[in-house]
Symmetry: C2
Subunit: 151 residues, 2 copies
């Protein structure tokens, strides 16, 4: 990538594209996001495999983009009037967004949501660095560390 | 999306996913990015169709993610030691990254680059809000306004 003082070429980064389908295929386990890349130190692209129904939660400080890479269809249930996960649990979803392979959707910050996938689905997410998968339910048994270095 | 004081449901946003292939297919013209969505008021997802060879340029203040949606393959030529577009033109590429459909790659901020597509290719880009397509060559005949509202 650059030439150091000895005149030898240093390769600081792998200058290769990543195929999302191949990369997400390697993931084992569900609901355990892996780091793909960081953009401008502020946002992270993550990959995960999901299956089943996740818990209601929201991210008060970040939008969260979902992109369906493989498998699917999956659904994003939104409870746009809910003020907490418990409230969402009580009043349920008022919007359901279906994502098939190639579909993208942004859950706005602060909106209670839960992903559901009847079959195993590979997804990419875009959100702020440091975002925890279970949002305002940090500490839940499904809360997990991001796999791979974030920055 | 929410209930107003008359008790009627207001739909503020279309709660539907966007299919990247269908959306990029609607674009006419090359090298003219269209707004897809904004994430956290800081980053924009854009779609474009490209064909041919773009000009050397860099974005001093933002990383730029390229994702190949349709068509392809395309190439990103990088001139990682170049200090200006003119310098890149002179010394040429020292890295070439090929992207086929489903491939993603980040051009780090400040790196001189130019996309090349022998056949018409649909791409998604992720970069900071306000990023100009020709980067540090703003004012070039290929410089264009982003189509669609950014925020």
């Amino acid at each position: 990538m650059s030439v150091d003082q000895t005149g030898e070429e240093r390769t600081d980064t792998t200058m290769e594209a990543t195929n999302l389908i191949h990369r997400v295929d390697k993931i084992t386990g569900h609901w355990q996001p892996e780091h793909l890349m960081t953009v401008d130190s502020s946002h992270t692209l993550k990959l995960a495999k999901i299956q089943g129904t996740f818990i209601w939660h929201c991210h008060p400080a970040t939008d969260e983009v979902f992109y369906c890479v493989s498998g699917g269809p999956m659904r994003l249930e939104l409870s746009t009037n809910a003020t907490s996960p418990e409230h969402a649990e009580e009043i349920g979803a008022d919007q359901t967004v279906e994502l098939r392979v190639g579909d993208i959707f942004k859950v706005p910050r602060g909106v209670q949501h839960r992903p559901i996938a009847d079959v195993e689905t590979g997804i990419m997410m875009i959100e702020k660095v440091g975002t925890v998968n279970t949002g305002d339910r940090e500490g839940h048994e499904l809360t997990t560390e991001l796999k791979g270095s974030e920055v």
